[in-house]
């Protein structure tokens, strides 16, 4: 059974948010997207423990709290650490990749240049997570 996912997208770029939203509507997927423009906003959203997202899509390059810092905070939280977090970034910096997996991520996806390629990647990503069993608090 394909689950309806509640997705927290942490992304500061307005167009990137549009890209994800458009992709989901184009693909006619029934997922909910919660937007957070930066880490601080995201943490505020995550404070409501009764309405936590199923997965988090996280951009690395962000103002204020950057992706890796945010990831560390997440993983130090007894509840939040169970939410699968997938990095969605343009950076293919090996150091970042290594660091993210070290802290604990559920995936690391590089944003391709072409929009068509992006749609394919997101489709597969969401399909994968919608068939996964997730911890429900």
């Amino acid at each position: 059974m394909i689950k309806k996912l509640k997705i927290l997208l942490i992304e500061d770029d307005m167009i990137e948010i549009m890209k994800l939203n458009r992709t989901i509507s184009t693909l006619k997927l029934d997922h909910t997207i919660i937007e957070a423009n930066n880490g601080e906003v995201a943490l505020q959203i995550l404070e409501k423990k009764d309405n936590l997202p199923d997965i988090i899509l996280l951009d690395l390059n962000m103002p204020k709290i950057n992706g890796i810092e945010f990831l560390k905070i997440l993983k130090n939280d007894d509840v939040l650490k169970y939410i699968p977090t997938i990095i969605l970034t343009t950076s293919n910096n090996q150091k970042d990749l290594l660091e993210c997996y070290k802290i604990g991520v559920a995936g690391y996806v590089i944003k391709p240049l072409k929009y068509e390629d992006y749609v394919i990647k997101i489709e597969r990503l969401l399909a994968y997570w919608s068939i996964n069993e997730l911890i429900v608090v």
């Binding site: 167009i15 458009r22 950076s91 150091k95 240049l113 072409k114 929009y115």
Partner: protein, 652 residues
């Protein structure tokens, strides 16, 4: 008969009677006289023989009488004592007494005794009863009876054993002395009162350059000889004058030094030899002391030399004893430390300069030196004005003549300046490393920030196309396509710049890379059109290097080759050649080729020769950078329209 006749006869008879009577009387007298004489003679003989008997019996020397077969008839007391036999009990034959080696000599002497009647001065060895060997001297003679027939032999035997031994000893010591004199390391010349040479030796002949042997010189006149030899000396007249003065004074002179023309220095001694009150001659000895003198001189010079080196060298020198107390410092050390030698003498070297760990190190190193180890180490020291200085100390144990460690000598070099530079260098390196890291980080951020807008533009263009599907004319669609390819090129450019800056930035550890596996994996990964064939002529070796970078190197070159093949049938040939320290690789294609004038340019960044969608002009710059990182070189051989071969070397 007539009266007359008878008268005459009567008278004659009477005369005759009277005459006979007178004769008888004379005879009687004579015979009486004779009797007395013989009586006296007999008495004399008796006296003589008893006298002789006493002589033989009592003489100190042994007296032996034997029969003609050599059987001893009589031994006097001395003989009994000498031979140990008592002839009244023992039966002794002289032939048994003869020492076996002297037998022949003894027989000859016996024969002489029997033929001539005596022998004299026989000297040989005999056995005594206790088998002791004794040297004896014998005079012997034959005893005859009244008919001149030999009946026995007698002899006087003297024990000369002691005399013989001392004689032998004398000869031996004389020989010894003679050979000693001959072989003496000093030239010796002994002259008599008339200055005639009595004795000299080899060394003398050698010292004076005489071709004669020492024996030939005996009897020569010393005075004349010295006048001939004077030319051998630097001061010939002085030599003679001195010699004459000594000769006249006849007093002992020791340690005179004479300098010879050939540079030799002789020490001359003069000793008069006096036996009792009588002068027996004069002994001159000459000894070559050149070596001693020059040795002493060169030692002095050597000492002076080292002394001035130590005093003037730009290195501080400190001598300490086993308790680390300063015994001596040189001038440079005074400048180095700020203390004078006076202030330092007797002070503990480790404590006086102590700064932090300085004295600990000194103690530790001193211990090692006690064991005879030489060492060098750096310490932090405090000079007199309290300034912290860095000293490089090279220490060595100091030994006395018995080979015991009595302390150590340390050479000090002030390396504060060098040390400061070193610390500065370390700081700079750390800083450089940090800024390199920052730069790397910066490159990633920049590339991210540049790439993000490209993605946005691409998405927006895609949406425009999507949302206006069927409303756009062909020119607009073409322009949209151009925007997209420009974006792709921009993306590639940013990727390449980032790659280029990454090469050489992160220093991943080198490891053994199997190029053969790596390249075949690479070929299967890359997009190779069907008309292009890639072939390796030889098995590629293992290289100590950075795997990711080596992969990038081959990838760039192979994809370059693929990219520029314009023939209907493409060939890429990979080969390797083993050079001593490097491997030489070649990648050959039959592509468009590169004009000679561009051969240098193509390795420079942003020098793409063919402006195309997928060529940014960075690929070969990256290749060159990677090759250089592996201590190799890259060059090419190419003919336009025919093909290109890239050669590069990598360190084994």
């Amino acid at each position: 008969m007539s009266q007359d006749q008878s008268e005459i006869l009567k008278r004659a008879l009477t005369r005759e009677k009277a005459a006979r009577k007178a004769a008888e009387k004379i005879l009687e007298e004579k015979s009486r006289e004779l009797y007395f004489t013989s009586q006296r003679l007999e008495q004399l003989l008796d006296e003589k023989s008893s006298q002789l008997q006493g002589v033989f019996e009592n003489i100190a020397d042994a007296y032996v009488v034997m029969d003609l077969q050599g059987n001893v008839i009589k031994f006097n007391e001395a003989a009994t004592k000498l031979f140990g036999y008592d002839v009244s009990i023992d039966k002794v034959n002289v032939t048994n007494l003869i020492y076996k080696e002297d037998y022949q000599y003894a027989m000859t002497s016996f024969y002489e005794l029997y033929t001539k009647g005596f022998f004299k001065g026989y000297e040989a060895r005999v056995y005594t009863k206790s088998k002791e060997v004794k040297w004896v001297h014998i005079n012997a003679s034959v005893i005859y009876d009244k008919d001149k027939k030999p009946v026995a032999a007698q002899g006087i035997v003297r024990d000369i054993t002691n005399q013989k031994i001392s004689e032998e000893k004398l000869i031996e010591s004389e020989n010894r002395l003679a050979s000693l004199v001959v072989n003496l390391d000093s030239g010796v010349i002994l002259e008599d009162e008339n200055r005639k040479i009595v004795l000299t030796n080899n060394k003398f002949c050698e010292l004076f350059g005489l071709k004669a042997s020492p024996k030939d010189l005996i009897g020569l006149d010393c005075k004349a000889a010295s006048e001939q030899n004077k030319i051998l000396f630097k001061d010939p007249d002085g030599f003679l004058k001195q010699m004459r003065a000594i000769d006249e004074a006849k007093k002992e002179v020791l340690g005179d030094e004479l300098e010879m023309v050939d540079g030799k220095i002789l020490e001359r001694n003069y000793t008069p030899i006096v036996l009792g009150q009588k002068s027996k001659g004069y002994l001159w000895t000459f000894k070559d002391v050149t070596l001693n003198r020059t040795y002493r001189k060169s030692l002095e010079a050597q000492k002076q030399k080292y002394y001035s080196i130590i005093a003037n060298m730009n290195l501080g020198l400190v001598e300490v004893n086993n308790q680390d107390e300063i015994l001596m410092v040189n001038q440079s050390f005074e400048q180095l430390s700020g203390y004078t030698e006076k202030e330092l003498k007797g002070k503990n070297a480790g404590e006086i300069f102590s700064a932090e760990t300085g004295s600990e190190i000194i103690k530790e190193e001193n211990k090692k030196r006690q064991k005879g180890l030489s060492n060098s180490y750096e310490i932090k020291a405090k000079n007199k004005s309290g300034e912290i200085r860095y000293w490089l100390i090279s220490g060595a144990p100091n030994y006395n003549l018995e080979g015991e460690v009595v302390g150590s000598i340390g050479i000090h070099l002030d390396i504060t300046e060098i040390k400061n530079l070193e610390l500065q260098k370390e700081k700079l390196l750390a800083k450089l490393e940090k800024s390199n890291d920052e730069l790397q980080e910066y490159a990633h951020i920049v590339s991210h920030d540049l790439k993000s807008p490209l993605r946005s533009i691409y998405a927006l263009v895609s949406w425009l196309k999507e949302d206006n599907q069927g409303k756009l004319d062909d020119v607009s669609l073409q322009n949209f396509a151009l925007i997209e390819s420009t974006l792709e090129k921009m993306e590639q450019l940013i990727t390449d710049v980032l790659n280029y800056s990454s090469v050489g930035a992160d220093n991943t550890a080198k490891s053994e890379v199997n190029l053969n596996t790596m390249v075949s994996e690479l070929i299967s990964m890359l997009y190779i059109p069907d008309h292009i064939h890639i072939k390796s002529l030889n098995t590629l070796p293992n290289i100590n290097g950075d795997k990711t970078k080596l992969q990038q190197l081959f990838q760039n070159l192979i994809s370059n080759a693929v990219k520029f093949i314009d023939k209907t049938e493409g060939h890429i040939i990979i080969d390797v050649e083993d050079l001593k320290s490097h491997y030489k690789f070649s990648i050959k294609d039959n592509g468009i080729g590169i004009d000679k004038k561009f051969h240098d340019k193509i390795f420079k960044i942003f020098h793409a020769l063919n402006k195309s969608k997928d060529s940014t002009g960075i690929g070969l710059s990256i290749v060159k950078k990677i090759v250089n990182l592996h201590e190799g070189e890259i060059w090419l051989d190419s003919q336009p329209t025919v093909g290109t071969t890239f050669y590069f070397t990598l360190k084994k």
